[in-house]
């Protein structure tokens, strides 16, 4: 009933929004700017507007503090990536590029990596950044209060060679070691400010922290001494939990950038006052299957579930078509991706036959848990349940709060089916490690000998081509073995006022405001 009310209200509101919308639809040429071929966003001959240097962007939630070493929340890194720098960074295409490190060298055995630091980098408090700060930062990232400590446990020694040279020695070979230095949580922080980074972050990044009034706004100002200074003087992140308010505020000129879902993007299409940015994202959405359940332990039952769901229809209905169908646990934007959609494509007759073969002729009853804070997952779950009903699987849906989902479903693994999303990483190993039978994040309870083997092999394999083969083999196994029903790799939608330029999306979840500017009218 609640859901019905919600859909009804969304419908009503959208009708009204359409009715109120401006009548410029006919004249405007579609101003869509698609980044789907990972081509760089076109920087037209528009000149930088030097008068307008204050940008307003909406955020749905506050960050989980601003200390990059003490959280795993994307909402924090989206902001802190502007305040802090990392040794290396990642380009929109997923290549590793220099940031605070000017150059680096990896020893022949692959165990030691040495960075040469950039000269003349200063923290927002005016002190120069040196190799000691880098050492301190990684020690802080490794200590027990850090939720990421496990990811950096491999680093055995950090040696300061001189004030601009630093060396990291690792215990065992990690071929994707460099990407560990590019994540926004590998931020370089000054020791003297470490106590209060959560509320008063000080870094070397292109923007200085100015003010954070929780649930109201967070203000950043330009750090003029940055090696690659920003165009904007001020960035205001406005906390607005309601999407309709965000859309209204953009239309009223109170905001310059908002993130939207497929349902709300329609009203901006063809309107020359706005630019719509479509970006592939480094994330996937899936329906996890608890492979320890008696029936679900049978591969045929899992395959039947996969065959019974029309994924494209699901994407069209729930995400308004903004998503790319996937057959395995891999985002389409990453270079190791292979198309596994044809391994099990929609076929209800085959699904029924498999289910019968597995001995579930008279049907089967399963419990599905859906996280209430993610309406899209709830919608998707309900549609999937409906489709499973058609092949004789009765699904009991329970909608739970996010906190409950995390503790009961994710941590305690008390579920049969659940719909959720996973954000990607730069290193394919980090992305796929949860399928190892011994992994703590393997909430599928999935166990496959070959998968375990591959996950061990890839860590040692230094040959890029061979490693690629292993990762692609793994994707194929998952597609066939179905520890989860892989739904889609979502396309994110951002709407900006038409005079905003330089806003790009990255394969890690950050908002890079440094390159953003306003164009002259």
């Amino acid at each position: 009933m609640k859901r019905f009310k919600f859909i009804f209200s969304v419908l009503l509101v959208s009708i009204i929004l359409v009715a109120c919308g401006s009548s410029t639809d006919e004249e405007g040429s579609a101003n869509e700017n698609s980044n789907l071929d990972s081509t760089e966003q076109k920087e037209e001959s528009n000149t930088v507007n030097i008068e307008k240097t204050e940008l307003n962007m909406a955020l749905s939630v506050d960050p989980d503090g601003l200390d990059p070493h003490r959280t795993t929340a994307a909402s924090t890194f989206q902001i802190t990536s502007n305040i802090f720098d990392t040794l290396v960074t990642v380009t929109p295409d997923g290549e590793i590029d220099k940031d605070l490190a000017e150059s680096w060298a990896i020893s022949d055995d692959g165990l030691t990596i040495t960075f040469e630091l950039r000269e003349g980098v200063v923290f927002h408090n005016g002190r120069e950044m040196t190799a000691d700060d880098v050492k301190y930062s990684f020690e802080r990232l490794k200590d027990e209060e850090s939720p990421r400590s496990g990811d950096y446990a491999n680093i055995a020694e950090i040696n300061v060679i001189d004030h601009k040279t630093i060396e990291f020695v690792t215990d065992s070979l990690n071929v994707e070691l460099l990407s560990n230095f590019a994540y926004p949580w590998a931020a370089i922080v000054p020791e003297e400010a470490a106590e209060d980074l959560r509320n008063h972050p000080i870094g070397t990044g292109p923007f200085k922290f100015e003010e954070w009034v929780p649930q109201q706004q967070l203000v950043l100002t330009k750090h003029t001494e940055h090696y690659d200074p920003a165009s904007l003087e001020t960035v205001n992140f406005k906390m607005m939990p309601d999407v309709t308010s965000q859309v209204s505020a953009l239309q009223a000129g109170e905001l310059d950038i908002i993130a939207v879902n497929g349902d709300l993007v329609g009203q901006f299409e063809g309107n020359p006052d706005y630019t719509i940015l479509e970006n592939r994202s480094n994330s996937i959405q899936l329906m996890a299957i608890n492979t320890e359940h008696e029936a679900l332990a049978d591969q045929r039952v899992r395959q039947a579930i996969n065959l019974a769901v029309d994924k494209q229809a699901l994407i069209d209905t729930v995400w308004w078509g903004y998503g790319e169908e996937i057959g395995s646990h891999y985002p389409t934007m990453l270079k190791e991706y292979i198309d596994t959609n044809s391994v099990l494509s929609y076929n209800t007759d085959q699904a029924k036959a498999l289910l019968e073969e597995a001995g579930y002729r008279d049907g089967l009853e399963l419990d599905m848990y859906l996280p209430a804070s993610y309406p899209a997952y709830v919608d998707a779950g309900q549609i999937i349940a409906n489709e499973l009903d058609a092949i004789g699987i009765k699904v009991n849906i329970e909608i739970v709060e996010w906190a409950t989902w995390l503790s009961d479903v994710y941590t305690d693994r008390q579920y049969d089916l659940t719909v959720v999303g996973h954000t990607g990483r730069l290193d394919p190993y980090d992305l796929l490690a949860r399928y190892h039978s011994e992994n703590g994040e393997n909430y599928f309870n999935y166990s496959n000998q070959r998968v375990d083997e591959i996950l061990t092999l890839v860590q040692e394999e230094q040959d890029d081509a061979k490693r690629l083969d292993l990762y692609q083999e793994l994707q194929k196994i998952l597609a066939e073995d179905v520890p989860a029903l892989y739904i889609q790799s979502p396309i994110t939608l951002t709407v900006t006022a038409s005079d905003v330029a330089g806003y790009t999306s990255y394969p890690i979840d950050i908002y890079q405001m440094k390159d953003v500017y306003f164009t002259n009218p």
């Binding site: 009310k5 209200s9 009503l12 509101v13 009204i16 929004l17 109120c20 506050d62 989980d64 503090g65 959280t71 795993t72 929340a73 027990e144 209060e145 939720p147 496990g150 959560r198 509320n199 009034v213 929780p214 649930q215 109201q216 706004q217 406005k238 906390m239 607005m240 939990p241 309601d242 309709t244 308010s245 859309v247 209204s248 505020a249 239309q251 009223a252 109170e254 804070s373 709060e401 996010w402 906190a403 409950t404 989902w405 995390l406 503790s407 009961d408 994710y410 941590t411 959720v420 996973h422 703590g440 994040e441």
Partner: protein, 318 residues
């Protein structure tokens, strides 16, 4: 008198003590804890246990409770897990927003409800009454979240009469501040006005039927004077009680409008604390709000007693 005040204070503290225990346990019985939430889908049982230790969540419940109460008495309300900010600072930051919202809303509701209520009582079963009652039904029936969105899209975005979102502090002038909460206050007011009109109308009707109204006619008092001076006075008591109760209702309404209009008030903070299991902040807010209610009750009792010695509380042994 002094012993009365002491007695009231002791009973107030007892109430607070039980509230604090109930809050504490209910919150810890809820599935999900701040450590799990903070780690999200990156969490493993080991990492969660580590973080729980850092947050002090691994201690036995009585120790956690004891630490919390001990700190509370020494004036340290603790700090929010999510914002890292002092609980008291956050509450004080938020309170003016919600109070202003409720106040502006009340300023709209009260005159409007009295005028409509009295009119419809005076013109009972005539067209004024029918229109008033239809409007009342409409106000009750329209869901507030829907109304809030419609108002936002139309008055703020389309017409630009109000800011779409955000709160302007008192520093920028009281008028600007009121302007920034006016639209949400109107939405809140529409949800509150129906019941009040109904009460005013019915108490006005019963007041008009009293014998003393006949008396005013007999004495030849002008009708308007009779209504204002006698009928209205008699009809005001019930609505005033309702207004007090509606103030409490407004906090519930505030959660909704504060979210839609992105106002940084108590309601929005409360919603976040529950969703994010920001236990320390949530406990602090519950204690703060209940203390305020208990304190106001004690003061009211004292005032009553001072004003009217006829009222004896808790027996006659004094």
């Amino acid at each position: 008198m002094l012993s009365f005040i002491i007695k009231r204070l002791i009973s107030g503290l007892t109430v607070l003590f039980f509230i604090s225990i109930i809050t504490f346990f209910v919150l810890r019985w809820m599935p999900g804890d701040p450590a799990t939430l903070s780690l999200g889908t990156e969490g493993t049982p080991e990492k969660i246990a580590e973080l729980q230790e850092v947050m002090g969540l691994n201690l036995p419940w009585y120790q956690q409770y004891y630490h919390w109460i001990q700190d509370l008495f020494s004036g340290d309300w603790g700090s929010s897990y999510v914002f890292g900010e002092d609980v008291m600072t956050l509450i004080i930051q938020r309170l003016p927003v919600t109070l202003l919202l409720a106040a502006v809303s009340m300023v709209i509701v009260i005159p409007f409800a009295f005028i409509i209520g009295i009119m419809s009582a005076l013109f009972k079963e005539r067209w004024v009454d029918y229109i008033a009652r239809s409007l009342m039904q409409l106000g009750d029936a329209v869901p507030q979240f829907w109304l809030a969105l419609i108002f936002l899209v139309f008055f703020a975005s389309k017409l630009g009469w109000f800011p779409v979102a955000g709160y302007v502090g008192f520093d920028d002038g009281i008028l600007a501040s009121i302007h920034s909460v006016l639209l949400p206050a109107i939405v809140l007011a529409i949800g509150q006005v129906g019941p009040l009109i109904r009460i005013i109308r019915s108490s006005m009707l019963s007041s008009l039927e009293q014998d003393y109204m006949l008396m005013t006619q007999v004495n030849g008092l002008p009708k308007t004077l009779a209504i204002v001076k006698y009928a209205l006075r008699g009809a005001s008591i019930a609505p005033l009680t309702i207004i007090g109760m509606q103030l409490a209702n407004m906090l519930a309404g505030a959660i909704l409008v504060e979210n839609i209009f992105a106002l940084p008030g108590i309601g929005r903070l409360l919603l976040m604390t529950v969703e994010q299991r920001d236990l320390i902040l949530l406990q602090g807010m519950v204690i703060f709000v209940t203390s305020a209610v208990v304190l106001v009750n004690i003061l009211t009792d004292i005032c009553y007693r001072l004003a009217n010695p006829m009222i004896r509380f808790g027996g006659n042994h004094e």
